[in-house]
């Protein structure tokens, strides 16, 4: 399941709902991304996430479908927020449930790596020095590349 929303989410309730009524599930892996403030001269006082409505949902659904093709998952969830967020606020939740922990852990890692490079979101930060657009990190591309199946 995927959701793109402005509102915060309840991690405990979301993870509980993911496995509810399915006693085959042995493990749930999850990742929560938070707005961070590195302090010092790089202080981030707020973050604004802009996205491409329509394409965002399409890409997240494709990434989720790919994870379900690669690993035997019983359930998966991606929630990504947009709008203005402050340090400590949740940005994203990725969760995967499987009978086997390796599948859940690998699929969760895959999903967060891929959505970093494929989901059309853009961050701008507010700092004491003004507003600035967040630049892409080369490490993110490298992380996604790891999952590329060599043909």
């Amino acid at each position: 399941m995927i959701r793109v929303q402005r509102e915060d989410f309840d991690v405990g309730a979301e993870l509980e709902a993911l496995t509810k009524g399915n006693p085959r599930i042995g493990g749930v892996a999850s990742f929560i991304g938070l707005v961070r403030d590195m302090g010092g001269s790089d202080r981030v006082t707020a973050l604004t996430l802009e996205h491409y409505p329509g394409m965002t949902e399409k890409k997240l659904a494709e990434i989720e479908a790919e994870a379900n093709k690669r690993w035997p998952l019983d359930a998966s969830l991606i929630i990504h927020r947009y709008g203005r967020l402050e340090p400590g606020d949740r940005i994203v939740l990725v969760a995967t449930a499987s009978p086997h922990r390796e599948a859940a852990l690998a699929a969760c890692h895959f999903l967060i790596d891929w959505l970093k490079t494929d989901a059309p979101f853009w961050k701008s930060e507010e700092t004491p020095e003004g507003k600035r657009w967040v630049e892409k990190r080369a490490e993110d591309d490298a992380a996604t590349q790891r999952w590329t199946i060599k043909s």
Binding site: H51, Y52, T117, W122
Partner: protein
């Protein structure tokens, strides 16, 4: 065609979207970007380094050779930074 701009590309061009008729010299993504640059200094500035420009046609990432047609939804934006 329907054009959409995001993030700093939107800010530099000064608009989030516009509806334009497909000019005769535009047949793919590369020729579209070349033509857009001639539309004003804001476009020229926003599109001057194509290494930082990504394009999606009908909500799929495409390369410079991808064909564009009238009626397409064409989005132009910097590398994504979500997650």
């Amino acid at each position: 065609m329907h054009l959409l701009y995001f993030a700093w590309l939107r800010a530099k061009i000064g608009t989030a979207e516009e509806e334009l008729a497909l000019p005769s010299q535009v047949h793919d993504v590369k020729s579209l970007l070349d033509w857009l640059k001639t539309r004003g200094p804001n476009y020229a500035e926003a599109l001057k380094d194509l290494g930082t420009v990504r394009v999606a046609v009908n909500q799929d990432y495409v390369g410079p050779e991808h064909r564009v047609r009238d009626g397409d939804e064409i989005a132009i934006f910097p590398p994504v930074t979500g997650g």
